[in-house]
């Protein structure tokens, strides 16, 4: 009689790879084999190596690395620049390599054979280091080393069964030819099929976009679909952007914008963990808003990270100087950090990762991004939205008061893609608009959204002079400023007279 009493439920073990726990909802299933497939250069070997390295370093789970493609010393060398000292792990008997890479000497096949030699090595190595983890990279290479394909398929199946018996959590990698097509080249997924993860490397808008997808995870749940990931100096970082949850705590602390009138318009200043969007046409005063916002923080000893995508650092400093704010000094004091680069410099995932790294390192209280709409240029809308969600949820979680600017496509205002996609994510929106009255271009400012607080409903005039930003009274008898087509219903005589003289 079959007895299933001792069948244990599946347990997931963490991998230590940034973001992978989130996508897989906890890691890989313990004691099972996961197949990682991807085209050439998609990051399979690195992911497998990182899985072993983190497993040993973070969770003290010894591992065995079986390589069929690269020589063991090449694998050690490849990750040295990431600061991963595999040799040290080998010396400490936490890691053992099994080198099954093809040899330069030709190898003749005469008669029947099987892969019991490999099995003997695996069993030996697993026992020797007490391995809990195992990597085989890459299975596909076995098919080029040996000509008997049906036998190799049978043997791979036998190996996975034996790995289960050894209670190791294993990763096998396999090649695939197309990004969207057959899962793996030799149909390995048909028999190594507990878990399958697909890595992709797609050229999009002339930028490489790497994604990771958990295709299946038997007996357990995971997030579905593709998630972007990037490879940086710390290894692989998966960015489960749309998998992020809206669970940030909220703060009731108010902080000043740097302008008393503006604080009044927002009925007491911005919330400490809020994200504010300033939208306006070019030359509309957005950068001044950023400078004011950053200057306020620095003058109170708070740290500010400024990300400038349209101006160089020197330009920013000079502009701030012209409004009497000494950014140079704050920069030297370590209160201000300005990062300037073109949006085109890298893909959005890399931008996001870089921003996160900067925040982790600099630990700012405020973040300024001028402008977020510049990022639209380097990506499609969906990725852009994911980027903004990823960024805003991260800064909220870190309680960083953030100001982002968005340039409207037309001088008269109107909607931009940025606004359409991120206005719902932001907590406060400030509109800057040109107002043309009697042949004069004047500037208008309005707070149109302020989550969790009352705000001024009036559209006020503002001026920029050598001291910065000045908010004046509200426009009277002018309609449709927000729509960008201000029409006057005729100013009253007294107002007209008033305008003729200096106040």
């Amino acid at each position: 009689m079959r007895d299933f009493k001792n069948v244990k439920p599946l347990v997931k073990i963490p991998t230590g790879v940034e973001g992978l726990e989130h996508i897989t909802m906890g890691g890989l299933t313990e004691g099972r084999t996961t197949l990682i497939v991807g085209s050439s250069g998609s990051g399979k070997s690195l992911l497998a190596t990182e899985f072993l390295y983190r497993g040993i370093m973070n969770y003290d789970q010894p591992g065995v690395f079986v390589t069929f493609e690269e020589r063991a010393q090449d694998i050690v060398r490849n990750v040295q620049n990431l600061g991963w000292d595999l040799n040290d792990l080998v010396q400490r008997k936490k890691l053992m390599f099994i080198d099954g890479s093809p040899e330069p000497e030709p190898q003749a096949e005469v008669g029947d054979y099987d892969l019991s030699g490999l099995l003997a090595q695996i069993e030996f190595a697993v026992k020797k280091v007490g391995a809990k983890l195992l990597v085989m990279d890459s299975i596909g290479s076995l098919f080029t080393q040996f000509s008997n394909v049906p036998l190799i398929r049978r043997e791979i199946f036998r190996i996975t069964e034996i790995l289960k018996g050894l209670e190791v959590t294993a990763i096998m990698t396999a090649e695939r030819l197309e990004e969207y097509g057959m899962i793996s080249r030799h149909g390995i997924e048909e028999f190594v099929s507990d878990n399958v993860i697909i890595l992709r490397n797609v050229l999009e808008e002339e930028k490489c976009r790497r994604t990771i997808q958990v295709l299946k995870m038997r007996g357990d749940t995971h997030y579905k679909g593709e998630f972007p990931f990037t490879i940086s100096s710390t290894g692989i970082s998966c960015m489960p952007l749309s998998a992020m949850e809206l669970k940030q705590t909220s703060s009731t602390d108010r902080i000043s914008f740097g302008n008393a009138k503006l604080d009044k318009m927002t009925c007491g200043g911005l919330f400490r963990d809020s994200v504010t969007l300033v939208s306006g046409p070019t030359g509309g005063g957005k950068t001044l808003m950023c400078t004011t916002f950053a200057g306020e923080a620095c003058s109170h000893g708070e740290k500010v990270l400024m990300l400038a995508y349209e101006e160089s650092g020197h330009q920013l400093l000079r502009n701030a100087q012209s409004w009497g704010l000494d950014f140079q000094k704050w920069q030297e004091d370590g209160l201000l950090k300005v990062v300037c680069l073109y949006p085109e410099a890298m893909g959005l995932e890399d931008h996001l990762l870089m921003i996160r790294r900067e925040i982790e390192e600099f630990k700012p209280q405020r973040l300024v991004m001028d402008s977020v709409s510049a990022m639209e240029r380097v990506s499609n809308i969906r990725n852009f939205r994911e980027f903004v969600i990823g960024l805003t949820s991260y800064v909220k979680q870190e309680e960083i008061c953030s100001l982002m600017t968005s340039t409207t496509p037309k001088l008269s205002g109107g909607d931009s893609i940025t606004e359409a996609h991120i206005s719902t994510i932001t907590d406060a929106i400030i509109l800057l608009r040109y107002v043309e009255i009697n042949g004069l271009v004047r500037r208008g400012i309005a707070v149109i959204k302020m989550r969790g607080s009352q705000h001024d409903k009036q559209i006020r005039e503002f001026m920029i002079d050598g001291e910065g930003l000045h908010i004046l009274a509200s426009f009277k008898n002018v309609h449709n400023i927000i729509l960008g087509v201000p029409t006057g219903s005729g100013p009253s005589e007294s107002e007209h007279l008033e305008d003729m003289f200096e106040k």
Binding site: I98, P106, Q107, G111, D112, Y113, F124
Partner: protein, 106 residues
């Protein structure tokens, strides 16, 4: 210095037994005292499999004389083994070579 032919097998499987049997036949053709035949059971001595990177079994390795030769399988085709290991000149009786090949190919 003696030349060594190492045969790696796994336990007493059919492939292993056939390979040992076939290797003995080949050894008979080789000059005596110049070749040592070594049979390694990787099930009992897995460390040796790791050291010599043995993936498939049976595997026959000739380390000396150079070049290194490697043949996998049960060695059922003697001619192929001799070509694979580059042993032709080593045969004790070159004339007998033909007969041997003729015998195998029957």
């Amino acid at each position: 210095m003696k030349n060594i032919l190492s045969l790696y097998v796994y336990g007493e499987t059919a492939n292993s037994m056939r390979a040992i049997h076939n290797l003995k036949k080949i050894a008979e053709e080789l000059p005596k005292d110049q070749y040592d035949i070594k049979v390694v059971d990787v099930r009992k001595e897995p460390q040796l499999a790791v050291d010599d990177c043995i993936v498939a079994v049976p595997t026959l390795i000739k380390k000396l004389p150079l070049p290194i030769g490697k043949v996998i399988g049960d060695l059922s085709d003697t001619e192929k083994v001799i070509i694979g290991l580059d042993l032709k000149q080593e045969l004790s009786n070159p004339e007998k070579e033909n007969t041997m090949i003729g015998r195998v190919s029957k």
